[in-house]
């Protein structure tokens, strides 16, 4: 199995592969070639959770009483995006 097998999977499959790998403490390469239905069998409900992730995020904000359009949250959101961009730069440096 090559690293590209993981990269060639759909975003949803990649999410499921990573989640199962973390849960079962196995390499992603050992899961990346499995068919989608097998990933679904290994993580029931995982694909739906991925597909509904925007609703999950909205529910999380609503639970905290956070208005996503409020200026203070917008500022935090911009800072969070910058942090995640820097995380990706860390990852790119690691891969290089």
């Amino acid at each position: 199995m090559t690293a590209s097998a993981f990269a060639d999977r759909s975003p949803a499959d990649q999410y499921l592969v990573q989640r199962i790998a973390a849960r079962d403490q196995v390499d992603i390469e050992s899961l990346a070639a499995l068919p989608a239905h097998e990933l679904d069998r290994l993580l029931p409900g995982g694909r739906a959770a991925y597909e509904n992730r925007k609703q999950v995020a909205a529910a999380l904000l609503a639970r905290r009483g956070i208005d996503p359009d409020a200026p203070d949250y917008q500022a935090a959101d911009a800072q969070a995006r910058d942090i995640l961009s820097r995380v990706d730069q860390l990852g790119a440096g690691h891969a290089a």
Partner: protein, 137 residues
């Protein structure tokens, strides 16, 4: 463990997620990670350390953790990694909760692209993990 683009949340991040009121940076990071499909992983030892600090006041962490298909995946301590975590902590010279937490994070994330999200970057000095300092620049 090599999980591209995954975020590993340590206890300082989890405590901030529960307590931060303004700015709600930890919460915004979690929300952005969820919407962009990033995996959020939480070592079991980080949960223990956060639980000790939060003293039973963790309704929002519990809410996101109690759903098995929820947005955070807990990294268990098991036959696969518990002995190695204990050994790593002993090498570091301390056996308090944070030392055990750092030991599990090192066992899980050393040499991998997984970013450790933390408000306490000094904990990881000398460790071969990718650290993202959440403190304001």
């Amino acid at each position: 463990m090599s999980l591209p683009h995954a975020l590993l949340l340590d206890s300082s991040f989890l405590v901030a997620y529960e307590r931060e009121l303004s700015p709600r940076l930890a919460q915004a990071v979690v929300v952005n990670a969820i919407t962009t499909g990033r995996l959020l992983i939480v070592p079991a030892a980080s949960l223990v350390a956060a639980g000790a600090e939060l003293g039973g006041q963790h309704p929002d962490l519990s809410w996101v953790l109690n759903d098995p298909t929820g947005p955070m995946q807990v990294l268990a301590l098991s036959a696969t990694n518990a002995l190695e975590t204990g050994e790593q902590a002993a090498h570091a010279g301390s056996l308090d909760l944070v030392a055990l937490e750092v030991a599990q994070i090192v066992v899980e994330a050393a040499g991998s692209p997984t970013a450790v999200m933390t408000y306490e970057p000094k904990r990881y000095v000398g460790c071969s993990v990718q650290v993202m300092d959440m403190q304001p620049r």
